[in-house]
Symmetry: C2
Subunit: 407 residues, 2 copies
C-alpha cells in the first residue's frame, strides 16, 4: 500500500521510557514475511488505564482488557496483528487466556496483569499454536525501538505512527511515548484502532483513568474516517513510575494539570495521525463548531458533518459545496436554527444568518480547497458550546481498498 499523502515526513524521535521494554516476533498469523506480534514488558507496579470501543459486539480482548484495566496494574502488553479474534466465541477466549497464562508464568504475575489486543479480520479464532510460538519467540528476542513496535502493530496502515510529550511534575520532568495503529475508527477487515501510551510518571491508576478518559473525550472521540466503530478499538496508558516524581493521586496535586495537558496533547497527536492514514484520504479536514448549546452538542454536530459522505466527497472534489454542510448540521439531531447558522471555509465566511453572504467571492475558498489541510467552521448561533473534530475526505481510494479486493 502506498504511503498516505498526508503522512508526516518521518517517524518522530520517541524517548525510551524507564520500565518499558519492547520486543517483536513473527507469529505468522497471516501468510506474510514480517513481524506481527508485539510484546511490551512493564516494570512491577506499573499503573494502567484504558478506554475501549463501545461496540456491543466487542472482542474478547476488549472485554478482558476492560476488566483488567479496572485492576489498575499491568506487567505486559501483547498485540497480535493480522487477526482481530473478534466474534469468535469461546475459541477466541481460550486463545487470549493461553497467551496471558504463558506470559504470567514467565513473569510470575497474575494473568489479569497481562493486556492482549488483536487486530485484523473478524470471525476467525486466533490460532493458538501460532500465538504460543510467537510469544515464546518474543520472550527471548532482543529489545527493539519504538518505530519497529509501531510498524509491527500495524495492518493496513501505510505508515508507522508515534508521538511524544513531556511535562514537569514538581521538579521532575516526566516523558510520554506512544504508538498507534489504524486507518480510521475501523480499518476494514483489520477492524481496529489500537493506541498505547507509556510514561515514566508516577500516578495512581484511578487518576490515570480519569485523565485518559478526559483526554479521549477531546481526541479519539473527535475523529472519524468512515463512521464505522470497530469491535476492537483500544487505547491503554501505562505509567511505570520510574521518573521519581511525587506520585500524583488527585487533580489538585502539583503537576497534575501539566500531566493532563501532556496526556491530552499526545492523544491528539495520535488521533490526528490515524486520520492522516484514513483509507484513501487525500485531504485532512478540521471542523470547528462554535455557538452550540453545549460542547457535547457541538461535537455531535461536528461528527454529523465529518461523517457525511456528501460533505466528504465534495471536499475530495475541491467543491465549496457549503449547502451539504447545512444539510449535515440539520440532520445531526441537535438544537440548531437554520436562520442563525453561519459557515466558513478557512477564515472566509460563505453563509451567515441562514443564507449566502452577499459579497461571496469563491476564489479564496476554491484556493483553500486545493490544499491538503482543509478547515471548515460552523457557528450555530445559539450558545457557547464548541468542539473541534477531524476527518478525511472520501475518495475512489476508499472504495478501492474496501470493495475492489476480496479480503
Amino acid at each position: 500500500m502506498e504511503r498516505s499523502p498526508l503522512a508526516p515526513a518521518t517517524f518522530p524521535n520517541l524517548p525510551a521510557i524507564d520500565g518499558v521494554t519492547l520486543r517483536v516476533a513473527r507469529a505468522h498469523y497471516k501468510d506474510w514475511d514480517r513481524c506481527d506480534l508485539t510484546y511490551v514488558e512493564l516494570t512491577e507496579q506499573t499503573a494502567v488505564a484504558g478506554v475501549f470501543t463501545r461496540n456491543i459486539c466487542c472482542s474478547t480482548e476488549v472485554e478482558m482488557g476492560r476488566e483488567s484495566a479496572a485492576g489498575g496494574k499491568a506487567r505486559a502488553l501483547v498485540v497480535n496483528a493480522g487477526n482481530s479474534n473478534a466474534f469468535t466465541g469461546f475459541r477466541g477466549r481460550e486463545a487470549v487466556e493461553q497467551i496471558r497464562g504463558q506470559i504470567a508464568a514467565h513473569l510470575k504475575c497474575a494473568p489479569s496483569e497481562i493486556f492482549v489486543s488483536s487486530t485484523g479480520v473478524i470471525g476467525v479464532p486466533l490460532p493458538r499454536d501460532k500465538a504460543q510460538a510467537g510469544v515464546a519467540a518474543a520472550l527471548t528476542t532482543a529489545p527493539c525501538n519504538w518505530q519497529t513496535a509501531a510498524e509491527t502493530i500495524g495492518t493496513t496502515d501505510t505508515f508507522a505512527k508515534g508521538a511524544t510529550a513531556s511535562a514537569m511534575i514538581g521538579d521532575t520532568r516526566i516523558s510520554l511515548s506512544a504508538i498507534i495503529k489504524g486507518s480510521g475508527m475501523i480499518a476494514p477487515d483489520m477492524a481496529t484502532m489500537l493506541g498505547y501510551i507509556f510514561t515514566d510518571a508516577a500516578i495512581e491508576p484511578v487518576l490515570l483513568q480519569h485523565m485518559l478518559s478526559e483526554a479521549n473525550r477531546r481526541s479519539f472521540s473527535c475523529i472519524t474516517v468512515d463512521s464505522d466503530t470497530s469491535t476492537s478499538d483500544t487505547v491503554l496508558a501505562f505509567a511505570t513510575g520510574k521518573a521519581g516524581n511525587a506520585p500524583l493521586a488527585s487533580m489538585d496535586d502539583p503537576g497534575a494539570d501539566a500531566f493532563q495537558a501532556a496526556l491530552t496533547d499526545i492523544c491528539l497527536q495520535l488521533a490526528k495521525l490515524v486520520v492522516r492514514d484514513g483509507e484513501g484520504a487525500s485531504k485532512f479536514i478540521e471542523i470547528e463548531v462554535t455557538g452550540a448549546v453545549s460542547d457535547e452538542s457541538a461535537r455531535r454536530i461536528g461528527l454529523s458533518i465529518a461523517n457525511s459522505p456528501l460533505v466528504k466527497t465534495a471536499i475530495a472534489g475541491e467543491d465549496a459545496n457549503w449547502g451539504r454542510v447545512v444539510m449535515a448540521v440539520g440532520k445531526a439531531g441537535e438544537p440548531a436554527d437554520r436562520d442563525k447558522l453561519a459557515i466558513r471555509f478557512a477564515d472566509k465566511w460563505v453563509a451567515q444568518s441562514g443564507l449566502a453572504v452577499d459579497s461571496y467571492d469563491e476564489a479564496p475558498v476554491a484556493a483553500h480547497l486545493k490544499g491538503r489541510d482543509i478547515r471548515v467552521g460552523v457557528d450555530i448561533g445559539l450558545g457557547d458550546g464548541r468542539a473541534t473534530v477531524w476527518t478525511c475526505d472520501l475518495t475512489h481510494g476508499y472504495i478501492s481498498i474496501n470493495a475492489d479486493y476480496r479480503s
Copy 2:
C-alpha cells in the same frame, strides 16, 4: 447519466385519477433543454396529507407544506426541478409566496391550498421571474401523462419512477397513482426525495394523514442510500374523492384496512425505486432484522447496517464479509447480545450464536453475492421485533457523481 442497472425495464402503466390533471412547462431554472416545472391541478375538496424531512435546516417549501398539510385541503401542486430553494432565507420565502399567489388567483382559492416543492442545488434563491413565466406557461399548456410528469420532477435521477395500487372500499374500486424522484435520501446538490401519491378515494384528511404516516414508517423511513437526510424530502398524498366510495373517516370503516394496505404498498414501491436509482448503485440490498427487542429497534439496527460504508463496499466487492455486519449491529446503539447473534446471506446462515457456523460453505453465498439483488438477514435473538430496510451498495460511481465533478 446512464440508466441505473437496477432500473425496471419500463415505466409502469399508471391509471388516470379522476380529479387530477398534470401539466409541465419550461421555467429554465438551469441551462438545460427540458421541462422543469410540473403543475398538478386538483379538483375542489381534494384531501391532502404529507410527511416531510426532519432535517432542522429544512427548506421554506417544507415549512409551508407542513403548515398547509395540517389544513387538509389541496387545489394544486407545483414542483420546481433544478433549484431546491433551501437555505435562501426571506428571498426563498418570497419566491414560494409568489407562486402560490399566482396560482391561487387563477383557481380562485386560498394560497394555503397550493403546495410547492423545489429540488436542486441548496443556497440559491429560486429566480422569481423564471418561476412566474414557468407557472404562466403551465397554466395554459395541454395536459400530459404520468411518465412526462415523473420525468419533469427528476434531477439526477437516471429513470422516471411511478407506481400504482388499488383497493376495494365497499363496492367501489379506488385507484392510486404515484410518482417520485430521488437518488437517495438526498440526491447531491439536488437535495431531495419528492414523492406524490394521487387517489380517487374519498377519505377524511386526518385519516389520510394517519395512514400516510403509517405507510411512511414502513417504507420511506426504511430506505437509505448514503445516510444523508435531505433538507427538502417531501411525500404528499392527495385524495380527490371522485371514486364515489363511502368516505373513509376512521380505521374502523369498511375498506379502511384495504386502503391502508394499498397505500403502504404504493409507498414501498416508490421507496424501492429510489434505492434502485441510488447514486452509483450496482446492487439492491434488502436487510431483514428479526429477534430485536422491538420493531423500532430492529429498524435502527437495519439502518446501521445499511448505512455502514464498510458493509456497502463489501457487497459492492461481492465479498461475504459478515464480520462487518457484526460490527454494524454492535455500533447501532440498540440492545444486542454478541453471543446470540446470527447472520445469513439469502437463506444461508454464516454465523450463529456469536461465531461462524462450523459447516460454513462460502460457495453458495459467493454465488448469491454475484447477483443484482442481495438479501442479508440478521437475527438478534432477544425478542420479537422485526423490520426490513433497503439500500444499495457503495461504489466508485458514488464517488464519481459526488466528487469528480464540480457542482
